[in-house]
Assembly symmetry: C2
Homo-oligomer: 239 residues x 2
């Protein structure tokens, strides 16, 4: 086997098996996995090999390990949302999750751009959301979201969508956002945005174009946020 072109170390194979189980929902988010020793027995490898696989999963934030308790499937807690997926911080260093005011929800056929970004067929359905988000009680972000309708059936009929969408995706639709890629630009506010954000037209805004990926590796949300960064900034830590 070592000589085959797609040779993989044992611990990687174990990791892949575990990821597959996570993807299929064998364990729900927050639920505990079997112990290292029992997984080792099941897979016929040593505990050390299972440990290395679990360590890598923990590093990728797919599981959380707690000494004396066990290994648990990662879940979107408010803490995680705040420190992991939301990078806007007050210039004074204060972190706070933004409030939300839903402006519009509707189902539609995907535009070309949506189909391309979400990897959908040309005539696939999407759900579009538009939200105002508030930082420190003040309107600061205009957010447009597109979701593949197939993954989120009936979401457009959901009466009151919560502020923390990723938790909602996980609890209601079984979709766990595991990874995201953001593209940032400076843009000028258009008339509508300027009005919503109480700024002059043409005021500089930070555009955060985010594509979020589920556990299975497929894109499940396209989100474009236009942010007033007068009193806030986006934090990026290198290394």
């Amino acid at each position: 086997m070592q000589d085959s072109p797609d040779f993989k170390p044992l611990y990687v194979q174990v990791k892949d098996l575990l990821v597959r189980r996570l993807v299929t929902g064998a364990w729900r988010p927050g639920e505990g996995l079997p112990s290292e020793t029992s997984l080792a027995g099941e897979f016929g490898v040593s505990q050390g090999t299972v440990r290395k696989a679990l360590d890598e999963l923990a590093q990728q934030n797919l599981v959380v390990r707690q000494q004396g308790k066990g290994t648990f499937v990662a879940t979107h807690t408010p803490q995680r949302a705040l420190f992991h997926f939301f990078h806007l911080v007050g210039d004074d260093g204060a972190r706070a999750l933004p409030g939300s005011r839903l402006l519009a929800v509707r189902a539609a056929k995907a535009t070309k751009a949506e189909a391309a970004r979400l990897d959908l067929k040309a005539d696939a359905g999407v759900v579009r959301l538009k939200r105002m988000r508030l930082l420190g009680g003040r309107e600061a972000i205009v957010e447009r979201i597109a979701l593949p309708a197939a993954r989120f059936p009936g979401l457009e009929k959901d009466s009151d969508l919560p502020n923390e969408l990723y938790r909602h995706y996980e609890l209601v639709y079984g979709v766990t956002v595991a990874r995201a890629v953001e593209a940032l630009k400076a843009i000028a506010a258009n008339a509508e945005e300027a009005k919503l954000l109480r700024l002059a037209a043409g005021a500089p805004l930070l555009e955060i174009d985010r594509l979020a990926y589920a556990l299975d590796g497929h894109a499940v949300e396209w989100r474009v946020s236009h942010c007033d960064t007068a009193d806030h900034h986006y934090v990026s830590e290198i290394e």
Copy 2:
């Protein structure tokens, strides 16, 4: 020892010892470290413990491991600069290091802001640089840099500073940039920037405010870049 309040696992202690050696320049960047077995013998621990320490150092990009060759002190190659510290990418996905045109260099006393950001005394000396940077041959970034003079003696007299400053810091001043924190905002171009970048005054620019830290944990460079993101974007990967 396990009961002392500052108990540290053996591998962490080994790691700390190795970091201290890296900081003091016991091995030059690019140079090979002793093998795992010889380090294990020297420290009186097992090879596995040294391995765990080295694995963490490799994860933090302080060393690079190569199977069959050895473990080497990380160095600022063009590749590393391009993929690790420079996050602006063409909208078509093309990555390229920006060219540079030096506009000004001079030594001065630190402003209050500089002293605060670089953790210097009020009357400490700094060196200030101002550069134009070009993406695809086009003026795209105005960059202002402040350095503590104590760490970079005589840099202001350096006739032709290279494009890749971090490599220069490392080779000439023995300062290895190991980590950085960036704060991003959207701002409006002032008259000078607009002229330099051939934009209308007030055009939106992406401000990247970066504080870079050396191996020893001290801030060694404050860099503020104002970028025209009409054809480029800043990439941020989450997870």
